[in-house]
């Protein structure tokens, strides 16, 4: 579904992605973890062409997004939903108007149909009673859920999550995890999750990729990831008090 082929990106004279290659299968939840500056968010931005690689190719279901322009780029981007770290809701629109935005701007739907789809999506993220509020009037967790509702309202094939649980309390973090799992189970979307939160990655991920200095240093399913002999992985696991025999939440999958 998503293929990175030898992608290289240099920012401020420093290689952030260094001959990066991996493939994400249709329907899987692919988690990307790593230390700050490892290139996680840059990888995600390359997938939707918010950044262009200096070298290499990025294929989305066979279409090369790394060289697409104009309408072709728009067509490929229409396959994506993107949850930003800050949710990136338009500040002057209410939650419901934010969710309705892509439907109003891109599709010729009746107002009734738009309202129905917005209500359904808000219900899915448990915000059906907060649609009239402005983004400034709701909590960080609610903003994230509103951002998620906007990302999925068009039923995209792929949803990208940039740090979906950062800055949230553990209970809200697990709610977001459950929503990601629910989307995969109910809609069959392919998910790519960039996160620092290994508990979350182990709970929701089909596979987990550890990025280190712009390369994949480990790529494995959660069970194998936790038993990895890689020093970076073990150091990362230990930093979040996760050991090989520690249980972690799997019910979100």
């Amino acid at each position: 579904m998503i293929e990175f082929r030898n992608v290289t990106k240099v920012l401020s004279g420093r290689p952030v992605l260094n001959d990066l290659s991996f493939t994400i299968q249709k329907g899987e939840t692919f988690c990307i973890v790593g230390a700050s500056g490892a290139g996680k968010s840059v990888t995600l931005k390359h997938m939707v062409r918010l950044m262009t690689p200096d070298d290499g190719h990025i294929l989305i279901g066979g279409d090369e997004i790394s060289s697409a322009e104009g309408k072709e780029l728009g067509r490929i981007r229409n396959r994506f939903g993107y949850l930003f770290q800050s949710a990136a809701l338009l500040a002057w629109l209410s939650v419901a108007e934010n969710v309705a935005l892509p439907l109003r701007e891109k599709h010729r739907l009746s107002e009734g149909e738009i309202q129905r789809r917005v209500h359904e999506t808000l219900e899915m993220v448990e915000l059906e009673n907060d649609g009239t509020k402005l983004p400034s009037e709701i909590s960080g967790g609610m903003r994230k859920r509103a951002g998620l509702a906007r990302a999925i309202v068009e039923n995209p094939e792929i949803v990208l999550y940039d740090e979906p649980t950062s800055g949230l309390d553990p209970v809200t973090s697990r709610t977001i995890d459950r929503l990601i799992g629910q989307l995969r189970a109910e809609l069959g979307v392919t998910s790519v999750v960039v996160t620092h939160d290994l508990h979350s990655a182990l709970a929701i991920g089909s596979r987990i990729a550890m990025l280190d200095q712009g390369r994949v240093s480990e790529l494995a399913a959660p069970d194998a990831f936790i038993k990895s002999s890689s020093k970076e992985v073990q150091r990362f696991l230990a930093s979040q008090y996760i050991t090989q025999d520690a249980p972690w939440e799997r019910d979100a999958k």
Binding site: L11, S12, R49, R77, F84, L90, L101, R104, E105
Partner: protein, 270 residues
Amino acid sequence: MVTREPEYFPPPNSTVAHLGRHVLFFCRAVGQGTLLLWYAIRASRYVLTKRTRDEVVMQMFAYGIKSLGVITVVGLFTGMILALQTGMALSQFNQEVNIGTAVMVSMLREMGPFMTGLILAACVGSAIAAQLGTMVVSEEIAALEIMSIDPVRFLVLPRLVAMSVMTPLLAFYTCIIGVIGGGIVGATQLGVSWEAYIDNATRFAMVKDLYVGVFKAYLFGLIITTVACHAGFATTQGAVGVGFATRKAVLVSFLLVLVSGYFVTRLFYA
């Protein structure tokens, strides 16, 4: 694509390289601004959609009607200063009745559009740059692009249309208020009656003065919006960058209003 990647340039190793880089950046900014205006004009077929219409009306209110207060004060005092200065000079020759023509022609040709342009550059240009800059920093522009919603059509077009309509109207309003201000000074300090003042003001002013002034104001509206949108979209480095973009938008708009005003005058009158 409006969203720009972070750029890195190694420090220049000589004064010539430093100067050369500034020239290149200037040329690039001019090119980007011109392209932005072209993209907005190309998107103007969407101006009749309901959302854009509603947005245009909202922007006309926010940027036009809400500036009326300051424009009234500035217009009134500009007319009063013009009348006072010319009146004092003309009174030496007992020609103070001619302040009507002086104020009317000055306001229509130059001061009306120019003062309106300056006020709008300060009030509206800064607001547009700050809003778009904040949207860039909070990734709202990137979100629009990923949703395949063109930020130029969504954000620039309504502002451009609103300013293209409101700037000429406000400039005309400034002229009227300026002429009234001149009349007040004439009546209270120079002994020129209202009838004589209005008669003199309307006798020598030409229709050409009006349409050149309106054209100038229209041009200023386009310049201020384009510069402000470009500065906003080019914002980097968070809150500091928003401040820098706002300052840049106001400064560049001021300069362009001044320079383009001169060339329009030269084009029509020289």
